[in-house]
């Protein structure tokens, strides 16, 4: 009996290791090939490099316009996620607390956006009218808009679990709606907000189609497009491509590792318990 439990647990441990390995193999592959020479990396495999080529990274930073695009990505992802969370939380707050017929309809109407396919053709016209085409502000607004439905959905569920007595206490203390929301409610939303922030930050950081079509200057390109551009030019040098990829995904991997607790906890709260 004990023996069979040990074997069972051994099998489980081995299985889970194999699966974890499959999940990270591509990243490891990039990691190893990023420090090889061109010829060593011509077939991407796990053979170790003869000498670690750190200079690949300096080459890549110079040629790949990485510092520029890093700042762009950081700006696009953080501003759009921040603003999105604020306006989504404000909307979700009123939608939860004041469930009129209209508001219930508006809630459904907004979260239908999760399903809405983006129309890239006509969006160009809208961007032109609003003078946002080819601007950083424009791309930030677009990212923000694409994240609104999902953010409202998660925060809506979370606010529902906050007792309404909080609001009443606030009113008795003489709060207006703005003070009530910003000094009482919003701080209580912290777990949901962190989750939404991380998820929308990651989504935005990884997206590439919107800037490809709606930004026309390489100066404004985010990191994903910089990789695309780089791959176009250096397709033969897999070591440089790998180094470029590694530097691109490093920030998100770090954010992910730091925030993984919130991602997992937050997704649980928002999407399952509601």
């Amino acid at each position: 009996m004990i023996k069979s439990i040990v074997i069972k647990s051994l099998i489980q441990n081995i299985t889970v290791w194999i699966i974890s390995l499959i999940a990270v193999i591509p990243v490891l592959l990039i990691f190893i090939n990023a420090v090889k020479t061109v010829s060593e990396s011509s077939s991407m495999n796990f053979a170790l490099p003869r000498r670690i080529q750190f200079e690949n990274f300096t080459t890549v930073i110079e040629k790949g316009k990485l510092s520029h695009s890093f700042l762009n990505s950081l700006m696009y992802s953080s501003i759009s996620s921040f603003v999105c969370i604020f306006i989504s939380a404000m909307a979700a707050f009123v939608l939860v607390r004041n469930r009129t017929r209209l508001n219930r309809f508006l809630y459904l109407f907004i979260i239908m956006g999760i399903a809405l396919p983006l129309n890239y053709f006509t969006l160009i016209d809208v961007m032109k009218w609003t003078e946002l085409l080819n601007t950083r502000a424009g791309i930030i607004v677009l990212y923000m808009v694409t994240q609104i439905p999902f953010s409202v959905f998660i925060i809506y569920g979370f606010i529902g679990s906050l007792p309404k007595e909080l609001d009443e206490a606030g009113v008795i203390d003489g709060c207006g709606p703005k003070r009530l929301f910003f000094s009482v409610i919003f701080p209580m939303l912290q777990p949901a907000v962190v989750t939404v922030f991380i998820l929308s930050f990651l989504n935005t950081w990884n997206e590439f189609v919107l800037p490809l079509y709606y930004l026309n200057s390489a100066q404004k390109w985010p990191m994903t497009l910089a990789v695309y551009n780089f791959f176009g030019q250096f397709q033969q040098s897999w070591n440089l491509v790998s180094a470029d990829i590694l530097l691109t995904i490093l920030p998100i991997v770090i954010i992910y590792l730091l925030g993984q607790r919130f991602i997992i906890a937050g997704m649980t709260n928002g999407s399952v318990k509601g």
Binding site: V16, W17, M90, L123, G274
Partner: protein
């Protein structure tokens, strides 16, 4: 009090953005899909249902794209759910480094698809790619394939990459669902002498239904909108084998027939609106019950 404390402008900010940049383009798109809008002339004419007739005519390839999109959606729903559930069960057990494994398995979800595409194009390369080299090394040379360029394999490879990337996400949601099931049910069942299979069938599955609904809806909406995975791996090739609706939309872009392109999006829009409505109704109901 509600009127004063919950002012409409709190909703209005998000709503206006959403209307201007998501809803209006979609409505314009529906209108323009009844016109001959194209890149060669500056005026457009109303042409009724011609674009839709083109899409649904058997001479063209669009039905193939729609079919592929549906195949993709259904197979990723099934694979991601089954594998995700298996993994959730696995990392919910008493294994070592539980947290580490969860973190690692979720990891593919955060890698940009563009990067995933570049890496997997190399991994799938028939000549020097990792998979074929590994197969040859362990003496299974006859199993090597043209993963992305063989008609039989290309779409399967795309689905595999997508499952690789998306399963961790599904696993986490299902894991949360598993953890919300009280242990007392299992203990009671054990006293009654239930087998592992019975426990799964009669306790886990029914109580996991809300979480499974959520993952199915997410997978469904994601699958129908699929573009980036195909775009970065094959861009519809070889030939037209792996075209999905959105890759066809973008080729209409380059051909300059915006009318047909936007009509394709409209077809997708109608399907998604119906499915999305049903799905959101489902999710909202779960929310009130849970």
């Amino acid at each position: 009090m509600t009127k004063r404390m919950y002012p409409f402008y709190f909703i209005a900010i998000a709503l206006v953005f959403y209307l201007v940049f998501a809803v209006i383009p979609s409505l314009m798109g529906i209108f323009l899909s009844f016109t001959d809008w194209n890149s060669y002339s500056r005026v457009t004419h109303f042409i009724g249902f011609d674009n839709f007739a083109t899409i649904f005519s058997s001479d063209e390839n669009y039905l193939h794209g729609i079919k592929n999109t549906i195949v993709f959606t259904i197979s990723t729903i099934i694979l991601k759910t089954v594998i995700g559930l298996f993994l959730a069960e696995l990392v919910n057990k008493k294994i070592k480094f539980k947290n580490l494994h969860r973190v690692l398995i979720f990891m593919p979800a955060i890698i940009p698809m563009l990067v995933v595409g570049i890496i997997f194009k190399s991994i799938f390369n028939p000549e020097y790619g990792l998979i074929n080299e590994a197969l040859r090394t362990i003496g299974l040379g006859q199993w090597t394939q043209q993963w992305l360029t063989d008609v039989q394999w290309a779409f399967k490879s795309i689905i595999a990459v997508d499952v690789w990337k998306g399963t961790g996400y599904i696993m986490v949601i299902l894991l949360a669902g598993l953890q919300s099931i009280s242990h007392s049910y299992y203990e009671a069942a054990e006293i009654d002498g239930a087998t592992a299979m019975m426990k799964f069938r009669f306790i886990t599955l029914p109580l996991l239904l809300p979480a499974l609904t959520v993952t199915t809806v997410l997978n469904l909406l994601y699958g129908l909108k699929i573009f980036d995975t195909v775009y970065v791996l094959t861009n519809g090739g070889p030939g037209y084998t792996t075209d999905v609706v959105y890759t066809q939309v973008f080729s209409q872009f380059s051909l300059g027939s915006y009318g047909v392109g936007t009509a394709l999006i409209t077809v997708l829009f109608v399907i998604m609106t119906i499915l999305g409505y049903v799905a959101i109704r489902l999710m909202s109901r779960e929310e009130y019950n849970g």
